[in-house]
Amino acid sequence: MTAETVISCKNAWKIFGADPKKYLRSMPAGLSFDDIRADGYIAGVKDVSIDVTRGEMLVIMGLSGSGKSTLVRCFSRLHDITGGTITVEGQDLMSLSEKELIELRRNKMGMVFQSFGLLPHRTVLENVAFPLEMRGQDKHARRERALEVVKLVGLEGREEYFPRELSGGQQQRVGIARSLAIEPDIWFLDEPFSALDPLIRREMQDEFLRLQGMLGKTIVFITHDFDEALRLADRIAIMKDGAVEQCDTPDQIVLNPATEYVRKFTEEIDKARVVRAGVLAQGQVMGEGEPVEASASVQDLARLLVQDARAVIPVAQSSKVIGGMDRAAALEILLEAS
């Protein structure tokens, strides 16, 4: 697969403090987060290199204060990075002029904020229409569009409310609607569903999956919720103290944690739900009989794994056998969970 890189981040640093640029230049290599803090600086993003390809959903996870929001803010240049480079669609972010940056944001980017960032003096409808207004769209068209997305997030009938008159979850949906209104190519979602009830949360997840699948949107998604991450992610990046510990597909993260921290972090997850047959398929021995789908998780196959007597079960992707799955290994994963 030759996917096109949309966001490319190379050795990016974001340091908070009095004179971060100077500090970074004079800093010896290999300082830890705590060393930097001892010098009176905070490493919000620490030497991060990551590429996001078109149409991908990258989920960023990590403890509170690990730098997730900061990293995403660097991607959208709400923060100027201290060192390294970030390119978006081939343009070096830091070299953009103000005008080019505004153009990029108007036409390509959208963001949902962790604490919503609603304008307090505007109604729901006016908040949602705000990005459209800034682009100079005419009043009628932007009202139409805003009404449409307000309905989509289930806030029909509250168009004229002010943010302060809404509950937390409703406010969050206004934030989501605002970014949906412009359907950007690149989407930054900072814990966009944290305040929603499970029902709406699922609806919203489906909506974003639909948009991603249908329109090939690139999405960077921050969440604290593993279920959500597993549902949405193509890849998961796990952050700690500003650095990305590991960035890989969900199966790889649970099967082959790169560091002790990642292992601990993913300990609680039910691996049987994450690991898919395709990952366990090995090239050498194909096995015989009816194949199973590569996209099926170990949990999906639980009954078969217990009842089937074959040692190796063939795994097929789009009706073509790609390898064999060792039944004992799969059972091991299944049992480990319970």
Partner: protein
């Protein structure tokens, strides 16, 4: 409780403080020695006061400078041009409000229309009570026969306040955006806020002609500083995510300011509007001193000729106007937008505007047919000036009353005020400066001490030392008396929640009164005498003292008083050992404000006949002596700033040490 008090003690004996107070004592000692030498006749005159010959002619230099700016740089032509624009605006409002014969020749607006609109706006902002207040104020003004003079005042206010708002907003935005502007503006603002208002007046007269224009200019300049401060504050407080949301929506810089920053800073900006209006009102009344007609001029004339009844009535009008404007603008601050249900018809959404127009038009038409709706004639008004006058004077002439006021006057003057003044004047200049520096050092530390030395040194060099000392004497004695009354009052009120609320409300209301008002009761009781000066300052300065005492005591965390209760402290012990020490930093803020108020008031009181800087300042108003006017003004400002810097430094340090919020 034990650890709180030991904390406090530990704090005061830390090494830095030790050396501070040691140094202060040394300075104090030198001052005492110098003064004793002087009393013994051993100190040469040249060390007692700076000899005339050594005083640099600041005033002349300033005059040269002003003349250069005025004529050679052509500032006068510029300001005269500005004057024309301003005059045009003032003529419009003057025509509308009280029918001055100028374009657009449609005024005056009937008083009933104004009162009606005030009622609608009041109802919209604060329900029936506010409606009553708004309408009542204007009805009173009309019925008492002061409509025209009140509208003369309002017509200037209506130009000055918006002007101050826009200039303040603009400068506030610049100061927030550019750190350099902020740095440049800060010291100017603090000087402007301590500069006596007479110093605003003369340049206004010279550059902008006598009358309403000069009044409007002085008023505007006076009201700008708080608007700048509030704008900057509000813009800084906009949550970063809201700004980022704006950025991500692709706002340009201008769009960000217009659609994100300014609306989000609404509350602070509206607080600024409230302050602008109140300061404008306070100042516009004072422009009476440069001959601006209106409520202030009338009050000044009435007080000057000791017509107490009319003074009282005008005082009530001014107070009512102040309270109305303050309450309404404050109600506007807390008012948040509320949505309309869907399908609300157009007219319902704009009901307030429509009602205003309706009421306005109705009364304008009605006034065409019913004369009293348009204007209350000379013979028709309900002024009881004469009767009140006789009543008050009769009351004052009662033996017990007269004896009391006489006694107070005698005790104050002969035993306290005059000896204190003579004592202060007997201190040699260097010793006096040392005393002030010692005070600044022991309270505020090194930096305020240096400022104190420089500032008071400059005052000494200005050649107005004796008058400055007399000014200071009035301030100190009045504030001390105010302390003796205001603080116990605050402490007593703070005992119960109900009384705290009441007294706080009274203080809040009193603080909205234009300072001029405070002269009325003083003059009523003590006539046009030096005691009145001290008394008016006393009343004026008591307000912040009482208020901050209550607030300070109320902010003491309840755990601490409870801890004291559990330790078995008596009420007195609790107060002295726990509450007061913790409330002291807040009370110091009130003390500082009291001193600033006192400096302000002492200058106004000049017209009663004082011997201080204010008197000289007032005299300059009659001429074109800009240099002298500025030297005098700066003297007042420098003295006030010294106290301001020292006390505020102490209060913030102390708050930090005690872990109290700012």
């Amino acid at each position: 409780m034990a650890d709180i008090t030991s904390d406090l003690k530990a704090d005061t004996t830390s090494p830095a403080q030790w050396s501070r107070s040691k140094w202060a004592s040394v300075l104090l000692l030198v001052a005492v020695v110098l003064t004793t030498l002087r009393y013994g006749g051993l100190l040469p005159d040249s060390l007692h006061r700076i000899p005339e010959a050594m005083i640099p002619p600041f005033a002349a230099w300033l005059d040269v400078f002003f003349n250069f700016v005025k004529d050679d740089l052509g500032l006068l032509t510029l300001t005269r041009t500005l004057t024309e624009g301003l005059e045009w605006l003032l003529d419009i409002t003057a025509n509308l409000m009280f029918g001055k014969r100028r374009w657009p020749f449609i005024g005056p607006i009937p008083w009933t229309a104004v009162a009606g609109v005030a009622a609608v706006v009041g109802y919209h902002l604060g329900g029936w009570r506010m409606a009553l207040l708004g309408a009542g104020t204007f009805i009173w003004t009309a019925l008492i026969g002061q409509w025209t003079i009140a509208m003369e005042t309002m017509s200037v206010l209506m130009v000055a306040a918006p002007l101050a708002f826009f200039i303040g907003l603009g400068l506030g935005i610049l100061a927030w955006k550019y750190a350099a502007v902020n740095r440049a503006i800060k010291p100017i603002l603090s000087v402007l806020q301590t500069l006596p208002f007479f110093t605003y007046l003369l340049p206004a007269v010279i550059f902008f002609k006598v009358g309403p224009t000069a009044g409007a200019v002085a008023t505007t300049i006076y009201a700008i500083p708080p608007m700048i401060l509030m704008t900057t504050l509000g813009l800084q407080k906009v949550p970063s995510e809201v700004v980022e949301a704006g950025n991500m929506s692709g706002c340009t810089k201008w769009q960000l300011l217009r659609h994100v920053y300014l609306p989000s800073a609404r509350t602070e900006i509206l607080v600024g509007v409230n302050q602008v209006i109140m300061l404008c009102l306070a100042m516009v009344v004072l422009t009476a001193f440069i001959g601006m007609p209106g409520l202030g001029a009338k009050l000044l004339a009435m007080m000057g000729s000791f017509k107490l009844g009319r003074s009282f009535e005008i005082g009530v009008t001014i107070v009512l106007l102040a309270v109305t404007l303050d309450r309404m603008s404050k109600a506007w601050v807390v008012r948040q937008p509320v949505h309309f249900e869907r399908g609300t018809p157009w007219w319902r959404k704009h009901i307030v505007l429509l009602m205003c127009i309706g009421v306005f038009v109705f009364f304008c038409i009605a006034a065409q047919f019913v004369q009293v709706f348009a204007e209350i004639g000379r013979k028709q008004n309900f002024s009881q000036g004469k009767e009140i006058d006789t009543l008050i004077k009769g009351f004052l002439a009662l033996d017990p009353v007269q004896n009391t006021t006489q006694a107070i006057r005698y005790v104050l003057n002969v035993w306290i005020l005059n000896p204190f003044r003579d004592f202060l004047l007997s201190i040699p200049t260097p010793a006096f400066i040392l005393l002030v520096v010692a005070f600044a050092l022991s309270l505020g530390g090194g930096r305020p001490a240096i400022y104190a030395a420089i500032f008071f040194g400059l005052v000494a060099l200005s050649g107005w030392w004796d008058r400055s000392v007399i000014t200071l004497y009035s301030v100190i004695s009045a504030v001390t008396l105010a302390l003796l009354i205001g603080v116990p009052l605050g402490i007593t009120a703070a005992r119960s929640e109900k009384w705290s609320q009441r007294v706080l409300l009274a203080c809040d209301t009193a603080q909205t009164f234009p300072s001029f008002i405070y002269l009325i009761p003083a003059i009523m009781l003590f006539g046009i005498t030096a005691t009145s000066v001290v008394m008016s300052i006393l009343i004026f300065a008591m307000v912040p003292l009482t208020r901050y005492t209550i607030e300070g005591l109320r902010t003491v965390p309840p755990e601490m008083t409870e801890a004291a209760d559990m330790a078995g402290a008596t009420r007195m012990q609790k107060l002295m050992k726990v509450q007061l020490p913790l409330a002291l930093p807040t009370m110091a803020v009130g003390f500082n404000q009291a001193i600033m108020f006192a400096f302000f008031m002492v200058i106004i009181a000049a017209f009663i006949g004082t011997q201080d800087l204010g008197q000289e300042l007032q005299r300059t108003l009659a001429g074109t002596d800009l240099g002298k006017n500025f030297v005098l003004g700066i003297c007042v400002s420098l003295m006030a700033l010294t106290f301001d810097l020292t006390i505020m430094k102490w209060a913030t340090e102390r708050k930090k040490a005690l872990g109290l919020p700012d």
